[in-house]
Amino acid sequence: MTIETDLYVKMQDICKTFGEVRANHNISFEVHRGEIYALLGENGAGKSTLMNILSGIYTPDSGRIYVHGEEKHFTTPSQSIEAGIGMIYQHFKLVDPLTATENIILGQKGHFLLNKRALSRRIHELADQYGFSIDPNKQAYDMSVSEKQTVEILKVLYRGADILILDEPTAVLTPQETKKLFDVMRAMKKQGCAIVIITHKLNEVMEISDWVSVMRKGETVGTIKTSETTPTELTNMMVGKTVSLSIHRPEAKKEPGVFKVTDLCVRDKEGVLRLDHINFELNGGEILGVAGVAGSGQKQLCEALTGLQPLESGSIHFRGRDMAGLSPREISLSGISVSFIPEDRLGMGLVANMDMVDNIILRDYYRQKTFLLHRRPSEEKAERLVTTLNIQTPGVHHAVKKLSGGNIQKVLLGREIACDPNVIITAYATRGLDVGSSHVVYELLNKQKTKGVAILYFGEDLDVLLELSDRIMVLCNGRISGIVDPNQVDKEALGFMMSGARKLDREDWV
């Protein structure tokens, strides 16, 4: 079968199931030369599965794939690479102890003996051609996120790929880095590459793509020209119903300085200073948003505030009481109720293999006086949560890991809120959740805020941070670049502060 040469990829009626989950159902998808395609959909819509099929990681159950007019049956990634397809994974596939050069040439055929100098030179040339700057001898674990992404892109270009797939490439980048990436993508497009970008960020779709395909629950909802659609139309296609995109920010009565952090410093196990003199106050009845590039000290701050991380110096006061150096149990027994919604829900937040009841008991079993545990009160609590939060589960005795991401988060949030917290610390509370579930989370937090709870909200989506928070604190390399009023800044400004290009003086913090 021959078709016009501009048609680079044609996928026809692709089906793929994992166990009982229908990840892809009769999906057809086309990619043409010199155009950028956005694949849009919520988490679990099947975008990544479809692209993993194209890159040979998964084998489809049925359907046909044509690349450059030839039918292909990929059973391994190497066959897909040979056909000119290059995938840039969301979770970078780099080997940490290897250098940039070694990572780039990995899996490629060539001389048995490696000539490192010649290879480095070749990679320098390639980087110059597309306007990247790179140190070929840097090891992957010393690289920043955006450097790692550069290596991933060069890896694909080095193999001579003309069909590029980028899986959520901007999730970990600052707005400035994103802009640079988009420039590179446009350059590649001009050189005749076909590009697919997987994303769930609407503004990026509108900015970069020529065409957009919307997926929902494993099926394609439609493919439209980007210039002929609007973000609202795309959202409705994505979710399947009309939703409001705006996040509500209720006013609440503030109790100033409930939580006060002074000169907090934290070193990690390797002795690196991860938090460097952190100073801030958190008021009751407010949501303080925390923005920052991944690895700026968010994890250490969360864990320092909850008593999980030993402090190098500094103090943490709750209503005037020093709680620095106390363990989580001691904090709780001293009458301060801190709720922590960690980033790793199923690792740190809940015990994945236990059911709702046992997970609830874990939070307060030590308050029971008897030797044997009373399960009944926790069972009742679990059932109340199921009804009030509308948790989709076959029953309270179902292992929590078997629930969907949104429901898992509802269990965790519900349990924590049921403890009547004074302070809530949430890290990436909506990561991996779809639009609907995310809004439930925002509503729950807002409700707590109006009750006077002090909330620290670590977020990665700047749009959400700007809408939800009462104030935003920006972290950069373990320091605070400033605390700002979301009504007076835009994403651009936050981006500069996240990258450390701009810092506010203490007097200018709100």
């Binding site: 070694e102 040439i105 990995l106 899996g107 048995f112 490696l114």
Partner: protein, 309 residues
């Protein structure tokens, strides 16, 4: 005196050298094979038996390597294809090797090796190199398998760090999913290097029964397979360091025997414990001083399944 001791250390260290090098290859592919002791015993008993009945050195060594490789192949099928637990499978392989060698070796106790084999393993001084003062006669007037050990370490190191296949092997052990996505044939690499590890272990075992001892005795390895596993950590998975590690422990192995004539007021048994005590010491030091790269290949011990969600 000292040179005698060093010569004996090199001879005693050679079985360790082969086993450690073999295990480095297996672990670099992400497979932790604890069956070293078993594979060495299989190589030792098969090599001795074949040497005894054929008087052919080549055949004896070849069959020892096949025996070790076969043991590793069992491990590879179980852990790579069937994704069974590597620790338990390795322990089972050790027990299998011990039983197998005791069974086959029953009639070998007290048998003397043919003269042809003993002749083959006499020292061959290398011209010029053996004239180096002091070190020359120690390092370069040895039997052919000691030279084989030198060659194995040098070739193994160059292979791991200077060739494309070596790069791919390191990638498989450090991040299997990334290696797979880069189009490297992960399963093939794992099979080849696990089996290569077994082959080298078999050879190490044969050196023990044919040259070092040289006779058959039950459980001839006496824990050398376990020491080799600890030595891999000592060497930080770097084949170059195997020279140091293997000969150092070879020295510790024989030091008790050598010290006997000096009438030292320490019990013989305490001195015989030395290699094992130092092994424990090394493990303690290496886990206290946890620096980057000393933790071993990141994927070691984990099964890999491409379509895992």
């Amino acid at each position: 005196m000292l040179s005698d001791f060093l010569v004996a250390a090199i001879v005693a260290g050679t079985p360790l050298l082969f086993a450690v090098l073999g295990e480095i290859f297996a672990e670099r592919s992400g497979k932790l094979n604890l069956g070293l002791e078993g594979m060495m015993l299989m190589g030792a008993v098969v090599g001795f038996q074949v040497g005894l009945s054929t008087s052919q050195v080549g055949l004896a060594l070849l069959s020892a390597m096949i025996a070790g490789g076969a043991g590793a192949l069992i491990f590879a099928v179980l852990t790579i294809t069937l994704r069974s637990n590597q620790v338990v499978t390795g322990l089972a392989l050790t027990m299998f090797g011990m039983g197998f060698s005791s069974f086959v070796g029953k009639n070998l106790v007290g048998e003397a090796l043919p003269e042809t084999i003993k002749l083959f393993f006499q020292p061959y001084p290398i011209p010029f190199l053996c004239n180096i003062p002091f070190l020359g006669p120690i390092l370069f007037a040895r039997d052919p398998l000691v030279y084989g050990g030198y060659a194995a370490v040098i070739i193994g190191s160059l292979y791991l760090y200077r060739t494309r296949c070596g790069l791919h092997l390191r990638a498989v052990g450090e991040n299997t999913a990334a290696a797979d996505a880069a189009g490297i044939r992960v399963t093939l690499y794992q099979y080849v290097h696990v089996v290569l590890g077994g082959i080298l272990c078999g050879l190490g075992g044969a050196y023990l029964s044919l040259v070092d001892v040289p006779a058959w005795q039950d459980n001839i390895t006496a824990g050398r397979g376990w020491i080799a596993i600890a030595l891999v950590i000592f060497c930080k998975w770097n084949p170059w360091v195997v020279f140091l590690g293997a000969y150092l422990f070879g020295g510790l192995d024989i030091i008790g025997f050598r010290l006997q004539r000096f009438d030292i007021p320490i019990s013989q048994y305490i001195i015989d414990m030395l290699p094992y005590l130092v092994t424990i010491l090394i493990l303690v030091i290496s886990s206290v001083r946890k620096s980057r790269g000393s933790a071993g290949p990141a994927e070691m011990g984990h099964p890999y399944f491409r379509e895992e969600k």
